[in-house]
Amino acid sequence: MSDTFQQHPETAIEVADMDFHYGESKALKDIRLTVPRGRIVAFIGPSGCGKSTLLRCFNRMNDLVPGARVTRGSIHIDGVEIHSPEVDPVELRRRVGMVFQKSNPFPRSIYENVAYGPRIAGTKSKSELDGIVEEALKGAALWSEVESRLHESAFGLSGGQQQRLCIARAIAVRPEILLMDEPCSALDPVATAKVEELILDLKRNYTIVIVTHNMQQATRISDMTAFFYLGELMEYGATTKIFTRPERRETEDYVTGRFG
């Protein structure tokens, strides 16, 4: 698969020599990584290894955590250093969407959930919003299930449907990159399969970075995999290579389940 990388040299995210601190403690050190456009990249690694932290750096979600900061290095998205002063984090998040581990629909109707992003971005026309909502829900493979009850509370949906609603909400903003933080960890296998199918489908339009604890999931959906261990990027490469011919001992131990 490494040759596919060659065919798509355009990079979406480029992380260079990055260190990250929560207060005094170092969470990530010396991260160097490139996310190619239009691919699915999986971040794997044991709990606390820093993969979610890195993911949350890409849309500066860590700004909300007191004391959390990048202490060295840079993150470029579309060639722009995202921590530079002219970058507005609100604009950044509009272009780098995110789906969370725990589905977190707003206490509103299904329609209002999806329309939230476009609405705050200034879309007022009802017909335009209707179009966006339909498109996003179809994109998230939820439209046929909720078409008849768009104006009912989002909490009436099942767990899997709620997570797909959150994906619909994220893509309604029309981002370029979609970050997913263990999107299936709270779902049953059937719902997981649906979401995975959806992720593969979304690949056509989005660059996706997904954090997962599920090895099979990483092999099923991702083009590239990064293995993190104790705040360091141990190994990064084509998924098939990481899972079949890992270069490092730790990677092999982890993907084969010898430690976790």
């Binding site: 849309n59 979600m61 909300l64 609100v90 604009e91 998040r93 509009r94 969407g97 995110m98 969370f100 725990k102 589905s103 977190n104 629909p105 707003f106 206490p107 509103r108 939230y116 992003g117 609405r119 705050i120 971005a121 509370s153 909490f155 767990g159 709620q162 959150c166 909400r169 994220a170 309604a172 903003v173 709270a186």
Partner: protein, 540 residues
């Protein structure tokens, strides 16, 4: 069954500390008993006020002969005289103030020779002088005809008479309060205009028309008064004396000893309605409390209108925007302590700041020509603001807690959709915390509605001539003084000329105040529960 001890047999350790459970239960029981006792007392006493008792006629030995007294028993008590002899006494409401001077009297039970419940006793309500308890005498009509009590048409004539006086009195009230009132106000405005800008032919002409109008209204008023004055109802008190009531004074006649359960229930409902819907009479001891209900509700609602946005906005800044540090901590402690400041202090502050300062500024800007202060005196607006200040800590604390309870995931989701911090708060965080905020508002309303002390400084009065909202432009009169149920209770209980007569009113008013606070709280709770259903945060 085998009774051999097993390894799970009790060692008694599981019962350790059980006395403390009893202690906690006793504490709760105490609270519940006290609350129920309070409610029970207020409810029974309040309802007793309205239930029409049978009127009894007692024959009393006065030593020099016997005397007949009609009335109903209010209470019984024991009294020890200076010689150390115990007397059982009954207190009787006998009305007829012009005959006895006092509406209540105590009699020694031993001096009662006989008692009966005659059917033909009337209980008459009138405008002034309190109730009359007597037998019907006759009606003297203005045209000189008479209808004696034994005439078969007497009852109908009496009803007609009361109906007639009711309509006439209503007419009189309309002329005096509305039409003459409007006329007088316009005259006053014109006079003030003349004083500042000099008199012009137009103002003079208008004044002349108004004067003409007034004379016409005055004549009309006198006509109605004459019509009211003509008829007289003569009654015979049980001791043989005659009581004369002008028809204009008559309000209502009830025959408590003839009425059955249905009749007495009807009378009770009439009294309750009268109490709720009519204006007070005779230094508040008679009539209703409608203006006080109105004042209480308006003040509480206006207070909520002020306190809710103010408290919510302050809490949002404190929780979401302010940099958490020693200063914010100090502010938070101060806000919490504000809730513990004695309420009269807020009254003094309201008087000094709202009335003297703000009111003075408003008056000098908008009413420079008014002779008497408009906003520079107590009024419903200033009272509401003072109470809003008093209750704002409650709302701030509740809102802060509600904001803190919004799950972080929901906030992050909003931000991840490209919302600015304010957009996230406005569209997602605030709706999710609305139920909690409303809880704070409910507590604030309950506190505010029952507060009396500060109100006495900032606008509550014993008797307000006009309601703060009425049909007269500009409809909302925020500067007007108002009546309040809490103050009404205080006034009846401590300031009334006849405390014995006011006692039932005290209980009835207390019951009403509690009911109103409960009703307003229930309404707010229902709204909150609806919102909670609508904005329930994920349990997934």
């Amino acid at each position: 069954m085998d009774s051999k001890p097993t390894s799970f047999a009790t060692t008694g350790r599981s019962r350790k500390g059980e006395p403390f459970v009893w202690l906690t239960a006793a504490g709760l029981t105490m609270g519940v008993v006290l609350t129920l006792g309070l409610l029970g007392l207020v409810v029974t006493k309040g309802i007793q006020t309205f239930w029409p008792d049978r009127i009894q006629v007692f024959e009393i030995d006065t030593g020099a002969g016997t005397e007949k007294v009609a009335g109903y028993v209010v209470q019984e008590r024991e009294r020890r005289d200076p010689q150390g002899v115990d007397h059982e006494e009954i207190q009787i409401f006998r009305g007829n103030r012009e005959l006895f001077g006092e509406k209540f009297a105590f009699f020694d039970r031993a001096s009662i020779r006989s008692q009966e419940i005659p059917e033909d006793i009337l209980l008459v309500e009138r405008m002034e002088g309190g109730h009359v308890i007597a037998r019907a005498g006759k009606i003297l009509r203005a045209d000189g005809t008479e209808v004696p009590a034994n005439d078969p048409g007497f009852a109908t004539s009496l009803d007609e008479l009361i109906e007639k006086t009711d309509t006439k009195r209503e007419e009189l009230r309309r002329i005096e309060k509305i039409e003459i009132g409007r006329n007088a106000r316009e005259v006053k405005e014109l006079r003030s205009l003349e004083r500042f800008e000099g008199s012009t032919p137009e103002t003079q002409a208008r004044l002349a028309t108004l004067n003409e109008e007034f004379l016409k209204l005055d004549a009309e008023r006198n006509l109605v008064r004459q019509a009211l004055a003509g008829d007289v109802l003569l009654l015979d008190a049980v001791d043989g004396r005659e009581i004369r009531i002008e028809a204009g004074e008559l309000l209502h006649i009830f025959r408590p000893n003839q009425a059955g359960v249905i009749g007495r229930t009807g009378e009770m409902l009439r009294r309750v309605w009268h109490f709720l819907a009519s204006d007070p009479r005779e230094a508040n001891t008679e009539g209703g409390v409608y203006p006080a209900i109105f004042g209480t509700v308006v003040m509480t609602l206006v207070m909520s209108l002020f306190v809710t946005p103010f408290g919510v906005v302050a809490a949002i800044y404190l929780r979401e925007y302010a940099k958490q540090g020693p200063l914010v901590r100090a502010v938070r402690i101060s806000v919490n302590n504000l809730a513990g400041v004695p309420s009269i202090v807020f009254g003094v502050f309201g008087l000094a700041f709202f009335i003297y300062f703000l009111g003075g500024v408003v008056d000098s800007w908008f009413f420079p020509r008014s002779e008497e202060p408009v906003f520079k005196s107590g009024g419903v607006l200033w009272a509401s603001l003072t109470l809003a200040l008093l209750t704002v800590p409650v709302v701030i604390v509740a809102t802060e807690e509600a904001l803190a309870a919004v799950p972080r995931g929901v906030r992050e989701a909003a931000l991840a959709c490209g919302a600015s911090k304010w957009q996230a708060i406005q569209r997602v965080v605030l709706p999710a915390s609305l139920p909690g905020i409303l809880t704070g508002v409910i507590l604030a309303m309950a506190r505010g509605a029952g507060e009396v002390a500060p109100l006495m400084l900032v606008g509550v009065v014993k008797s307000a001539p006009d309601l703060p909202i009425d049909g007269e432009a500009p409809f909302i009169h925020a500067e007007r003084q108002f009546m309040h149920l809490g103050f009404h209770i205080y006034d009846l209980g401590f300031q009334s000329p006849d405390s014995e007569a006011a006692k039932p009113m005290v209980f009835a008013t207390t019951l009403l105040l509690i009911t109103i606070v409960v009703v307003m709280n229930l309404a707010a709770i229902i709204i909150r529960n609806r919102l909670r259903k609508k904005y329930a945060t994920s349990s997934f």
